[in-house]
C-alpha cells in the first residue's frame, strides 16, 4: 500500500523539482501504477494544478503536457490525423476508458515500462521529452536512461512528415500486451520499434537499407523487402519469457507483426 504523509499541490514545476530531490518524495501522475506499490511517501507532489493536462498543436510540433490523460491523447483529432490513427490504435486496448481517463502520458513515459504501448508508439515518431533539469532530449535517449529525480514536463511530437502503423498482440482484451510493434517512415527514414519483449521498447535499425525506397518499389520487390526486414528484425532483437509468452513465441510473433505493419505502411494491406 502507498502511504502518503504530506500532499502538496505545487504552484510551479520548479517547486515540484525542489521537493522531488528528497528520496522519499514522489511525483504523482495518474497514480494508477504508483498505487499498486508498497511505499512510504514523505511528500506526494501533485502536478495537476499546473495546466499541463492538454495536447497543444503548434506550428511545428504537438506539445503534450505530462498530465495529459491517455484518453485525451487517444481522442486528439489532430494528432490522430497526423499519425493516421496509429496513436489511437496504440492506446485503445489499454484496460478501459475510465482507466485511460486517469493514467497520464507523463507517468507512462517517465516509468519507461517494458510493456508500454505508449513508449513503443512514441518512439516511432520524432518525439522528444522536456525535462525540468535536463532540458529537451530525444525520447530514444531518455528511454535508455536510468530513472532519476527530474520532472518530465511535456512530451513533444515534432511534425516531421511521417506515416506510421501500430500493432500489438494480447492474450486477452485489456491485458498487458505480449508484444508491441510500431513502424514509421519518419522524415523518409524507416523506423521499427518492438516493445513488451518483455523488456523496454527498442528501435530496430535497418543498417543494410533493406527498406530503402520501399514505397517506390514494385509490389513483388516490396513484398520481398518487407519479409526480409521482418526476419532481420526478429533475428536482431532480444526477447525474453514471462507468464504471458515465451521468448521463442515472441520472436515468431515479432516477425509476423513487423511484416504486417510494414505491409500496411507499404500499402499492401489495409
Amino acid at each position: 500500500m502507498l502511504k502518503i504523509k504530506n500532499y502538496v499541490k505545487v504552484k510551479s514545476i520548479a517547486e515540484a523539482y525542489e521537493l522531488n530531490q528528497k528520496k522519499s518524495a514522489c511525483v504523482l501522475g495518474g497514480m494508477i501504477w504508483l498505487k499498486m506499490g508498497n511505499r512510504n511517501v514523505s511528500t506526494a507532489i501533485d502536478l495537476s494544478g499546473l495546466g499541463l493536462d492538454t495536447v497543444q498543436e503548434r506550428e511545428d510540433e504537438f506539445h503534450i503536457g505530462c498530465m495529459t490523460s491517455l484518453r485525451d491523447l487517444e481522442t486528439n483529432a489532430a494528432l490522430n490525423e497526423f499519425t493516421q490513427g496509429a496513436v489511437r490504435e496504440s492506446l485503445r486496448h489499454i484496460v478501459g476508458v475510465q482507466f485511460r481517463n486517469c493514467a497520464t502520458v507523463g507517468g507512462s513515459i517517465f516509468g519507461r515500462y517494458g510493456f508500454s504501448d505508449v513508449l513503443t508508439m512514441l518512439l516511432a515518431l520524432d518525439t522528444w521529452v522536456e525535462l525540468h533539469h535536463a532540458g529537451r532530449i530525444p525520447l530514444a535517449e531518455f528511454a535508455q536512461m536510468k530513472k532519476d529525480r527530474d520532472i518530465l514536463e511535456a512530451v513533444i511530437v515534432k511534425k516531421t512528415p511521417q506515416q506510421s502503423v501500430y500493432l500489438s498482440q494480447r492474450n486477452t482484451e485489456t491485458d498487458f500486451p505480449v508484444l508491441t510493434c510500431a513502424v514509421s517512415l519518419c522524415g523518409g527514414r524507416a523506423r521499427t520499434v518492438i516493445g513488451a519483449r518483455p523488456g523496454r521498447a527498442k528501435i530496430v535499425e535497418d543498417p543494410d537499407g533493406i527498406l530503402n525506397g520501399l514505397t517506390e518499389m514494385p509490389e513483388t520487390e516490396r513484398t520481398g523487402a518487407v519479409q526480409k526486414f521482418a526476419e532481420y528484425a526478429a533475428e536482431h532483437t532480444t526477447f525474453g519469457s514471462n507468464m504471458r509468452a515465451s521468448e521463442e513465441y515472441r520472436k515468431l510473433l515479432a516477425e509476423v507483426l513487423v511484416r504486417r505493419a510494414w505491409e500496411t505502411l507499404g500499402g499492401m494491406k489495409r
Binding site: K35, M36, V95, V97, Q98, N101
Partner: protein, 159 residues
C-alpha cells in the same frame, strides 16, 4: 487537509487524509454503490463521473476532486432504474455485483458517443469486468436502451 467538491449536486466540505482515495471518501459519505473490486485498477467496479468523465475512484486521490463535480449512482437513481429495467428484460444480470460501475460507464458513453456501433459499445465498456456473464445480454440491453432513448428524443422534438 480540507477538500471542497460537489457530490451528486451537493457542495461538500471534508477533512481528508493526504493519501485517501476518492473511493474511500465516497463510501464514508454513504455512497455504497461505489465498490472496490480489485487492487489493480482493472475491473471498473469503482467507476464514478468526475466532471462528466468516467474515472476509477479507486485510483484517484480524493484531493484531486477539489472543485470538481462527482456523480455516483446514488445521484442517478432514476436513470439507473430506467436502464436497470432493460438489463432485467434481457436477463443480462446475474449476481449484479458489477452493475454500479458498469451503469455509470454506460451513462458516460451515452454522453460521449453518438449512435455507437456494437463494436464501439464493447470497446467503451471493455474496462468493466463481469464475472458472471459473457456481455451478450448486456450488449443487447444497451442497444435497446439507446434505441429507446433515441426514440424518446425524437418524440420530444415532435411535441
Amino acid at each position: 487537509m480540507n477538500l471542497s467538491f460537489w457530490l451528486n449536486g451537493k457542495l461538500c466540505n471534508d477533512e481528508v487524509e493526504p493519501g485517501m482515495m476518492l473511493l474511500e471518501l465516497l463510501r464514508t459519505k454513504g455512497c455504497y454503490s461505489v465498490k472496490c473490486g480489485c487492487e489493480t485498477s482493472n475491473c471498473g467496479l469503482c467507476t464514478v463521473l468526475m466532471d462528466d468523465r468516467p474515472v476509477l475512484s479507486c485510483s484517484v486521490p480524493a484531493l484531486r476532486a477539489e472543485g470538481k463535480k462527482i456523480v455516483t449512482m446514488e445521484g442517478m437513481q432514476k436513470e439507473a432504474e430506467e436502464f436497470g429495467s432493460f438489463l432485467a428484460d434481457e436477463g443480462a444480470e446475474q449476481c449484479g455485483f458489477c452493475n454500479p460501475g458498469f451503469i455509470m460507464n454506460i451513462f458516460a458513453m451515452e454522453r460521449e458517443l453518438t449512435d455507437p456501433t456494437e463494436e464501439e459499445i464493447q470497446e467503451y465498456l471493455a474496462g468493466n469486468l463481469c464475472r458472471c456473464s459473457g456481455f451478450v445480454g448486456q450488449t443487447r440491453s444497451i442497444r435497446k436502451y439507446l434505441a429507446y432513448k433515441e426514440s424518446q428524443k425524437k418524440e420530444g422534438i415532435r411535441e
